[in-house]
């Protein structure tokens, strides 16, 4: 989905603030939220990692930007536990002593039709184009590279295709490719001529550049 989570290239944000000697967790609840995220997937097996990532993407955008990272972790996890029938939203709000915001529902048609690519189609050095897709559900091709031409630097092993795993589509594994895009091509006139961005992209998201 073209959601708030797909931040790459968005403008208007200020300076990055680095904390020296940052602890693993700042507050005890953050460790609990992390543990609940893990236990929901590994012990309860309520949902998979792609459903989990998408549950965070579905947060109200204003809540997403205001929330600490572990608040997003908790919100996504709680939303899926409710959607999968393990917990009830009313019970959570009652226990929390006030409103407990959950993520918005999955879109009615979350996937676009992409032909499965079970055999690798590309080699190092190939020029490829990212398909100009914009599915309403989970997709791991960032907006900023869609429709752009890039060069394959490396072919990685096969990994579960995330759009299908997040939305009960036909499960499949495909190779991903490290595709390099010139910064000048992504954002003409802005960056240095020797800068580039490398994005790790599933085979299905790509087409040969000469098509």
């Amino acid at each position: 989905m073209d959601g708030i989570h797909d931040l790459g290239g968005m403008q208007g944000f200020g300076e990055v603030s680095v904390e020296a000697d940052e602890p693993i967790f700042h507050e005890p609840w953050q460790a609990t939220a992390f543990a609940l995220m893990f236990a929901s997937q590994v012990v309860i097996r309520s949902h998979n990692v792609d459903e989990y990532r998408h549950s965070i993407e579905r947060m109200n955008p204003a809540h997403y930007l205001q929330a600490d990272y572990y608040e997003r972790v908790l919100t996504g996890t709680a939303s899926l536990l409710v959607e999968k029938g393990h917990l009830s939203a009313a019970d959570l709000a009652a226990r929390a002593g006030g409103p407990f915001p959950l993520s918005r529902p999955v879109a009615p048609s979350p996937m676009v039709d992409l032909a499965p690519q079970l055999e690798p189609r590309f080699n190092v050095g190939d020029r490829v184009r990212v398909l100009p897709i914009a599915p309403a559900g989970h997709v791991r091709a960032p907006r900023f590279c869609r429709g752009h031409l890039g060069t394959v630097l490396h072919r990685a092993p096969k990994f579960s295709f995330p759009d299908a795993a997040a939305h009960d589509g036909p499960r499949r594994k495909e190779h991903t490719y490290h595709v390099e895009f010139a910064a000048q091509d992504l954002w003409p006139g802005e960056g240095a001529s020797n800068d580039s961005v490398v994005v790790d992209l599933w085979d299905s998201y790509l087409e040969p550049a000469n098509r």
Partner: protein
């Protein structure tokens, strides 16, 4: 878009935990185990990988060929370390890592990511204006050095293999590892030159 007054995050976290415990879906031992698991994942692990690569050319080659196995050789593997790629710094090219869509990180060798890495500021800006962001973070790069920003939203997890600073020829592996911070392993800082530091 105004958010209603929502229950404090501590209470919402307890609500989920207690509901799952009451239903018998998880145990207190599960929470303990997963809450402490990240203590094994830390940037000191990645620093030891770098120090080994600097002192053992055969290991460095294995790291560049197959970082997942090379990290596992030193005992560093696990969740978010299923496919690790080491990015070699050269005098001509600087590498920097970001997850624009969430906050993916090579946990076994970098640890859970710090807040700045997860911030909208870093995720939005470093792909588009890397030199400005790095300069604000204290890293000035020459115009001659190409910048490659590695986006890690899919399943490859990256670590930066920095250049060994001059003046460290006599350093032990342990002393070398101490030079390598989490920020160096992500690519937003350079190693402070020990030779310059002592002058």
């Amino acid at each position: 878009m105004k958010q209603p007054d929502i229950a404090p995050i501590e209470q919402r976290t307890e609500a989920v935990k207690d509901a799952l415990l009451d239903k018998g879906l998880i145990t207190g031992a599960d929470i303990e185990r997963f809450a402490h698991m990240p203590e094994d994942w830390k940037p000191e692990n990645g620093a030891k990988v770098v120090a080994r690569a600097w002192t053992d050319p055969a290991y460095k080659q294995r790291l560049l060929d197959d970082a997942t196995s090379a990290c596992a050789e030193l005992g560093y593997q696990g969740p978010q370390g299923e496919y690790i790629v080491a990015l070699e710094e050269t005098p001509e090219r600087h590498n920097v890592i970001v997850c624009t869509q969430c906050s993916c990180t090579a946990w076994p060798v970098l640890g859970l990511p710090p807040d700045w890495y997860k911030s909208p500021e870093y995720r939005a800006r470093v792909v588009r204006e890397p030199r400005r962001v790095l300069s604000e973070m204290g890293l000035q790069l020459s115009e001659d050095v190409a910048v490659r920003v590695w986006e890690t939203s899919a399943e490859t997890r990256y670590m930066v293999l920095p250049q060994r600073p001059p003046g460290t020829e006599h350093y032990t592996e342990e002393a070398l590892a101490a030079l390598v911070s989490r920020e160096v392993l992500i690519g937003v800082a350079m190693i402070e030159n020990p030779a310059e530091k002592s002058e």
